[in-house]
């Protein structure tokens, strides 16, 4: 469970970090343009996640994360993999880190499950290609956002994403969302219409309330799952993610592409 001070801390990190590193809004633009997506240089404000691959091997931990996400965002349950909507899910190690795999790796390593989600890249290709700015990188905290009302459903972002992190609503998702006896969906998060693309939003709606992302909170509640997922701001030197990133061996997906993922994995 979150302590009160922790919540307040999370809530204010983004704004504070922006002010600290850039000294006010006038300089924000200059700061942004000076930022190097290939690493190095101070980050203005960027939410990031660290996934502990060892701790997330427990299926109960991963399942709790996925369920929490489905409930928090009213994600439809679609069995057909060709149409399934996925925000956070399992993939095999060899497919998540194709550049790290060699023939001598034991099978259990190759096929180990890894949790994947949108990387909220420093240099997101999906944002670059979107013809309507329906997806954009939010300046104040680096989240790659989606505007479901502006999206025209051209799926160019899905062609551009090197991580397969985006899903298109091929059909009306609403009949396939979990509902209670009264027919109400699980959360206030707006349901989507068919014909638009969606993906993980790092729980922007929960961060606004000072809460951690649903998956992070859920993992922490599973015995043995504490710390399987860590979340914090890269601009805050004291954040848990920064401490882990500066002290442990972590990797990101497909570094050579220069997208600058903000989901890190402890190997």
């Amino acid at each position: 469970m979150e302590s009160k001070s922790r919540r307040t801390f999370l809530k204010e990190t983004a704004g504070a970090a922006l002010g600290l590193s850039c000294g006010g809004s006038v300089l924000t633009a200059a700061c942004t343009s000076g930022e190097d997506s290939h690493g190095g240089g101070p980050v203005e404000s960027q939410w990031a996640m660290v996934i502990d691959m060892e701790k997330s091997q427990d299926p109960a931990v991963r399942e709790a994360c996925y369920e929490a996400c489905i409930q928090a965002h009213n994600i439809p349950r679609i069995e057909d993999p060709e149409e399934r909507i996925r925000w956070i899910w399992d993939e095999e190690y060899q497919d998540v880190f194709p550049d790290q795999v060699h023939d001598q790796l034991p099978d259990d390593v190759k096929h180990a499950p890894v949790m994947v989600l949108c990387n909220h890249c420093m240099n997101p290709p999906c944002v670059r290609v979107c013809p309507t700015q329906a997806t954009w990188k939010r300046e104040e905290d680096g989240i790659v956002m989606m505007d479901m009302h502006r999206c025209i459903g051209c799926r160019y972002c899905m062609a551009a994403c090197p991580y397969g992190s985006r899903s298109f609503n091929w059909r009306d998702p609403r009949p396939l969302i979990d509902k209670d006896a009264q027919g109400n969906v699980a959360s206030d998060f707006p349901t989507r219409t068919r014909g638009v693309v969606e993906k993980c939003n790092f729980c922007a709606e929960r961060l606004r309330e000072g809460l951690q992302p649903a998956c992070v909170e859920a993992a922490n509640q599973v015995p043995g799952g504490e710390g399987a997922l860590m979340f914090g701001n890269l601009a805050d030197p004291g954040s848990e993610v920064n401490q882990v990133l500066s002290s442990q061996r972590t990797i990101t997906r497909r570094v050579a592409l220069g997208t600058g993922p903000n989901v890190f994995y402890i190997v």
Binding site: P81, R86, P125, V129, R150, G164, D172
Partner: protein, 386 residues
């Protein structure tokens, strides 16, 4: 002049009837898609673009190829293309409209199409493609109407049209370049991310487009009194021959880079196309058919005696069109999604609804083309009679 479109013989009305009924089929299919969503197509989370975007890509090439008659005629005063130019411009107009329709039918939220203009996004190639195509349509419509109107009145075209014609030449190159940039700028898709994609697109466009124009010219020669000219047709055939050879060379260059470097990311797509990857071989028969057609057509085109024989040229041109259609309309787009970023291979084949919509869009294009050519032929026949 336009009234000619409303008068015609039995054959003309039968032709329009055929296009009309195919358009109805397309409308019905699109209605299904509009009410149920793109779930009625064969596309999936892994293969997010299919036959629509592939036809779009193929037809941008057909549209761009008008430059192959415009450039020699206006820049080099190649007078033999005098009666061919308007046919090229008419084809470009019909092709661009089909391109726009193929983008439209591919959209998940077609009613929001204006968002592209309401929120202009300079960093998106799709925005630039929309501008390039819209501009090209306007250029060809204006140039075609003004020059043809002058010709019908047997006077010279107004002077102000000349700079617009000159502008249309680089503009034609730009539409296919920007279309290639849609693909070649994506680091996620190594099959598309090749600098030679735009040159390749242009080379294949300059072989398939003029081939179609030759077939249309041969049809007009056969069924109307209007003859675009034997010499013009032969010159076009030479252009097709050159462009096809250049296209084969570009494809070969791609093959070399992939196969010699032997990098899995680069070889996988070619394996998928020509041999099948992990048992997925849906495109293999298509690609080998395309390869056989390409080799046959290039060989025949390189022999002057055969190339200049108008009795066989039409068949060779049909072969060229089929080969390029397979290359762009079948293989190019889908293979970019194989394997997907997570190493998965998902097969794609269009559904009946998708094929219905595709046929409908082509029928709209060909109906438009029939109307434009009817007007052109009528005026020309009248001038011949006078």
């Amino acid at each position: 002049m336009l009234e000619a479109a409303f008068r015609g013989g039995k054959r003309y009305w039968i032709l329009l009837g055929v296009w009309g009924s195919l358009i109805l089929v397309g409308l019905w299919a699109w209605g299904q898609q509009f009410t149920q969503g793109l779930t009625v197509t064969g596309m999936s989370q892994d293969v997010t673009w299919g036959i629509y975007i592939a036809q779009f890509t193929f037809l941008v090439g057909v549209a761009a190829s008008a430059v192959m008659v415009v450039l020699p005629y206006y820049l080099h005063s190649y007078k033999d293309f005098g009666r061919m130019v308007i046919l090229g411009e008419g084809l470009a107009i019909a092709a661009v409209i089909m391109c726009m329709l193929f983008i439209f039918v591919d959209m998940g939220q077609p009613t929001r199409v204006t968002n592209v203009l309401l929120h202009p996004t300079l960093n998106s190639m799709m925005f630039w493609d929309m501008l390039a195509l819209g501009g090209y349509l306007a250029l060809n419509a204006v140039i075609g109407m003004v020059t043809f109107d002058a010709e019908a009145k047997e006077g010279p075209p107004p002077g102000w049209i000349k700079p617009i014609i000159i502008l249309s030449i680089p503009w034609a190159v730009s539409i296919h370049t920007v279309t290639a940039f849609l693909y070649s700028g994506l680091e996620a898709r190594s099959f598309w991310m090749t600098a030679i994609l735009a040159p390749r697109f242009l080379a294949s466009a300059f072989s398939s487009g003029p081939s179609l124009l030759i077939i249309l010219a041969l049809i007009l020669r056969r069924f109307t009194k209007f003859d675009p000219g034997e010499k013009a047709i032969r010159s076009l055939a030479l252009i097709v021959a050159y462009a096809m050879v250049v296209n084969v060379f570009f494809v070969g260059v791609e093959f070399f880079t992939a196969i010699y470097s032997d990098m899995p990311h680069h070889t996988h797509a070619f394996e998928y196309l020509y041999m099948g990857l992990h048992g997925h071989d849906a495109l293999v028969p298509w690609m080998w058919t395309g390869a056989a057609l390409t080799v046959t057509c290039v060989t025949l085109l390189l022999i002057p005696k055969i190339r200049n024989n108008l009795n066989v040229l039409g068949f060779i041109c049909a072969g060229v069109i089929a080969a390029i259609w397979i290359e762009k309309g079948v293989g190019m787009v889908v293979t970019g999604f194989v394997p997907n970023p997570l190493g998965r291979i998902t097969d794609y084949s269009p559904t009946g609804v998708e094929i219905g919509v595709t046929v409908g869009v082509y029928a709209i294009g060909f109906m438009l083309l029939t109307l434009i050519y009817k007007i052109v032929v009528n005026v020309r026949e009248r001038m011949l009679a006078a």
